[in-house]
Amino acid sequence: MLLIRRFEERAGQLYGMGMIGGFCHLYIGQEAVVVGMQAALKRTDSVITGYRDHGHMLAAGIPANAVMAELTGRAAGISKGKGGSMHMFSVEHGFYGGHGIVAAQVPLGTGLAFAHKYKGDGGLSVTYFGDGASNQGQVYESFNMAELWKLPAIFVIENNQYAMGTSVNRSSSEDQLYRRGESFRVPGLQVDGMDVLAVRGAAAAAVEWVRAGKGPLLLEMKTYRYRGHSMSDPAKYRSREEVAAMREKSDPIEHAKREILEAGFADEAALKAIDKEVRDIVVTAADFAEAAPEPAPAELHTDVLVGTY
C-alpha cells in the first residue's frame, strides 16, 4: 500500500513537471482494495481493470521502473511507451490492462474467465471497475453470461463515490452497488475497502466460492480517492472537509499501521525502515523513468500487426 501511495505521489509530481502527459489517474486512497484482493490470488489468475491502473500493476508485482517509464513515455516502459498511463499490460504477471473505455474491461474480464473455464486451468479472473462504470450496459451483459455459464469471475466495483464529478447518488437508481447483480443471480457483498484485512477476507471468501464452480461473485468495495479524478480535476463537486475527514479517519495505510503496532507485528522503527525502502524504490523508478530514452522513431510502425501479410 505504501509503495502505491508513494509511487502515485511521485507520479503526480512528475506530471506537474511535465514529464507525464495526457490523462493520469491516481489511486491514492484506494490502495487497500487492490492489495487486499491480490493477497487472495494465485499466479495463474488474471486481473483486468480500467485506466486507474498503476496500483493494480504494482500489486501484481510488475516492477515500478517499467510502470514509471511507461508514464514518461519511454522505450523501457512496460508498453514500450506506446500505451501510457491508461494502457499497460503484462501477460507475464497475469495483468490484462489498463483499458481506457469505461467498463470495456468488464466483458473482457468475463472473457478471461471464459478462457480459464474452457482451458480448465483452475484460474479465475478479477475484473475491477468503478461506480461510474457500473452504469454501463455491458456490465449487465457480462453478469448475465457469467452467471449463465458459471464462469470463474470476480467482479470488483471500486466505489470511490464519484465518477469524475458525479456522485453515486446522482447517477444510480440503486446506489447499493453490491445489489447490482441481483437480477442475474450474481451474489454481491459490500466490503470496507479502506480496511485491507476486510478486503482480504472478502477476497478469500469470493475466491473460494468461484473456484468451487459456483459462478461469479460481485464485491462492492467502499473506498475513496483523495485526489482529483485525473490531474486536471479542480474537484469543485466535493468539499475540502469531506476529503480531509476521509484522510484523517479512514486512511487505509494509517489504519493498517495502527493494527500492526497494536498487534506488535512491528515497531515504529521497522515501519520507518519500510517507508525508507519504499521511498528508495520510487526515487529509483522516477530517476530511471526520467533518464530512459524515448522509443526510436521506427517503433512508430512496429506492433500494429503480429503477422506479415
Binding site: 508498453s79 483499458h99 473505455i101 485526489r227
Partner: protein, 454 residues
C-alpha cells in the same frame, strides 16, 4: 526538504496565476494540505502537498500572473531539517521545456514502401481436384477443419449452435464439436464481442459470429478499441487473435437498418485485418487463414453469395491474406472490386467483351492490408480504371483505390478513375427503389465506356 514547483495541472497548461497562498512562511503543513490556489487556463485548482513539514519560504507572491510551469514556488522543510543556504533555495529552476512538437514531416518516418508494381499476377485456377460447393458450405468446412486441428478455436454467437446458424453457416458444428465449442449466446452483441476479445487475450482463438454486421454496431467498440489496438498499446505483448464474421452489405428487401456495407469502416482501422471474399474457394481459404492469423480479423461475408456455387479445391487449401487476385484478364480497362461487387464487375466484363472492350477484373479479397501492388500493376497494363463497390460512395474503398491510383499510378492513367457504387441514400424497401439504389452492371458498362472515351 521539498521544493514545490508550479505543477502542470492539465495536459495543455504552460503557465498559471498564483491566485492565493493558503499558508504563510513558518506554518506547519500535513500531507494533503492545500497550500495555494492556482488559476489555469481552464479552472481554479488547489495545490496540495504530498509531504508534511514547515513552510520555509514562499518564492512567488500571491497574485503573480504568468508563473511558468516548473518554477519554484515554495520550499518545505521536513522534520528536523534546517534551511538550505538562501542562494540555493531561491535560485530559479528553469522551467522544463515544453514537450517538443516535432514538425509533421519529422514526426512521420517513412511508412514501409509498397512493393513496386510488376506485371499483374494472374493466379492460376486451382490445379488439383475440385468440388462444387456453395459459399455457405465452404465457410462451414473452413471452421470445422480448423476446429479439428486446433482445440483453442471455438465459435460463439446468436443461434450458432442449436438453430444451426441464422443463415445456416454453422450447420452441423454443434453435433461434431459439442456445446463447449459451439456456444449459443444471448442477444448481447456488445457483451459477447467483448467476452470473445477477452477470451482471445486469455489464449483462445474465438470465432465470433454476428447474425449480420449491422448488429455489430453495438459491438464496434470492442472490435476497434479492445481488439485492434491492444497489441500496439501493449508494445506487442498482448495478442488478440479473434475472427469476427458474418454477413455484411445489402441482402434483399430488408431495408436501411439491415443493409449496409461496413468494409470501409473497418478497413480504416490500423491493427485490424479486413477480408471480404467473393468466391467459395476464397471464402474457405481466407477464413482458414483468418482463424490461423495471430491478429484480429473482421471477415465480411455476403448473404446473397451464401447460396452461390463455385469450384473449391478438395482438401487442405488456404488463401493468403493481403493478396488480390486477377479473376479475368483484359487490356482495355481494370475493374477493381470485392465481395458481391466482383460478380457485378464480371457480368459487366462479359457484356463489354461483346462490344470489343476487354476488361481486367481484380478481386481485392482483403481490404486491409490492401494489395495496392496488384491494383497498380493492372493499371499499368490497362491505363484505365473503374472501381465497383456494393456500398456508399463517400469515404469508401473506391475512394481509397482512387487515391492510391492518383498518388502512385498517376503516370499510368489515361483517364480519371471512376467509381460505380450504390446511390448515396439509406437503402429503400420498395423493390423498384432498392434496385435503383444498388450498384448495377449497366452503370459499370457506361463508366468503362466513359474512361475509354467511347
Amino acid at each position: 526538504m521539498a521544493e514545490i514547483k508550479l505543477p502542470a495541472m492539465s495536459p495543455t497548461m504552460e503557465e498559471g496565476t498564483l491566485a492565493k497562498w493558503l499558508v504563510a512562511e513558518g506554518d506547519i503543513v500535513k500531507p494533503g494540505d492545500v497550500i495555494a490556489e492556482i488559476e489555469t487556463d481552464k479552472a481554479t485548482m488547489e495545490l496540495e502537498v504530498d509531504d508534511g513539514g514547515t513552510v520555509a519560504k514562499l518564492h512567488v507572491p500571491a497574485g503573480s500572473e504568468g508563473v511558468k510551469v516548473g518554477a519554484l514556488i515554495a520550499t518545505i522543510l521536513g522534520e528536523g531539517e534546517t534551511a538550505a543556504p538562501p542562494a540555493a533555495a531561491v535560485a530559479e529552476r528553469p522551467a522544463p521545456e515544453a514537450p517538443l512538437m516535432p514538425s509533421a514531416v519529422e514526426a512521420r518516418p517513412e511508412a514501409p514502401a509498397a512493393p513496386a508494381p510488376t506485371s499483374p499476377v494472374v493466379e492460376p485456377e486451382a490445379t488439383g481436384p475440385t468440388k462444387r460447393q456453395t459459399v455457405r458450405e465452404a465457410l462451414r468446412d473452413a471452421m470445422a477443419e480448423e476446429m479439428r486441428t486446433t482445440p483453442e478455436v471455438f465459435v460463439m454467437g446468436e443461434e450458432v449452435a442449436e438453430y444451426q446458424g441464422a443463415y445456416k453457416v454453422t450447420q452441423g458444428l454443434l453435433e461434431e464439436f459439442g456445446a463447449t465449442r459451439v456456444v449459443d449466446t444471448p442477444i448481447t452483441e456488445y457483451g459477447f464481442a467483448g467476452l470473445g476479445a477477452g477470451a482471445a487475450m486469455g489464449g483462445l482463438k474465438p470465432i465470433v459470429e454476428f447474425m449480420t454486421f449491422n448488429f455489430a454496431m453495438q459491438a464496434i467498440d470492442h472490435i476497434i478499441n479492445s481488439a485492434a489496438k491492444t497489441n500496439y498499446m501493449s508494445g506487442g505483448q498482448m495478442r488478440c487473435p479473434i475472427v469476427f464474421r458474418g454477413p455484411n452489405g445489402a441482402a434483399s428487401r430488408v431495408a436501411a437498418q439491415h443493409s449496409q456495407n461496413f468494409g470501409p469502416w473497418y478497413a480504416s482501422v490500423p491493427g485490424l485485418i479486413v477480408i471480404a471474399p467473393y468466391s467459395a474457394a476464397d471464402a474457405k481459404g481466407l477464413l482458414k487463414s483468418a482463424i490461423r492469423s495471430p491478429d484480429p480479423v473482421v471477415f465480411l461475408e455476403n448473404e446473397l453469395l451464401y447460396g452461390q456455387t463455385f469450384d473449391v479445391p478438395e482438401g487442405e487449401a488456404t488463401v493468403p491474406i493481403g493478396k488480390a487476385r486477377v479473376v479475368r484478364e483484359g487490356k482495355h480497362v481494370t475493374l477493381v472490386s470485392y465481395s458481391i461487387g466482383v460478380g457485378v464487375a464480371l457480368d459487366a466484363a462479359t457484356q463489354l467483351a461483346a462490344e470489343g472492350i476487354e476488361a481486367e477484373v481484380v478481386d481485392l479479397r482483403t481490404l486491409r492490408p490492401l494489395d495496392t501492388a496488384t491494383v497498380l500493376a493492372s493499371l499499368k497494363k490497362t491505363n484505365r480504371m473503374v472501381v465497383v463497390e456494393e456500398g456508399w460512395p463517400v469515404c469508401s474503398i473506391s475512394s481509397e483505390i482512387i487515391a492510391v491510383a492518383m498518388e502512385q499510378g498517376f503516370d499510368d492513367l489515361d483517364a480519371p478513375v471512376l467509381r460505380v457504387t450504390n446511390v448515396d441514400v439509406p437503402l429503400p424497401y420498395a423493390a423498384n427503389l432498392e434496385k435503383l439504389a444498388l450498384v448495377k452492371v449497366e452503370d459499370v458498362v457506361a463508366a468503362v465506356k466513359k474512361v475509354n472515351y467511347r
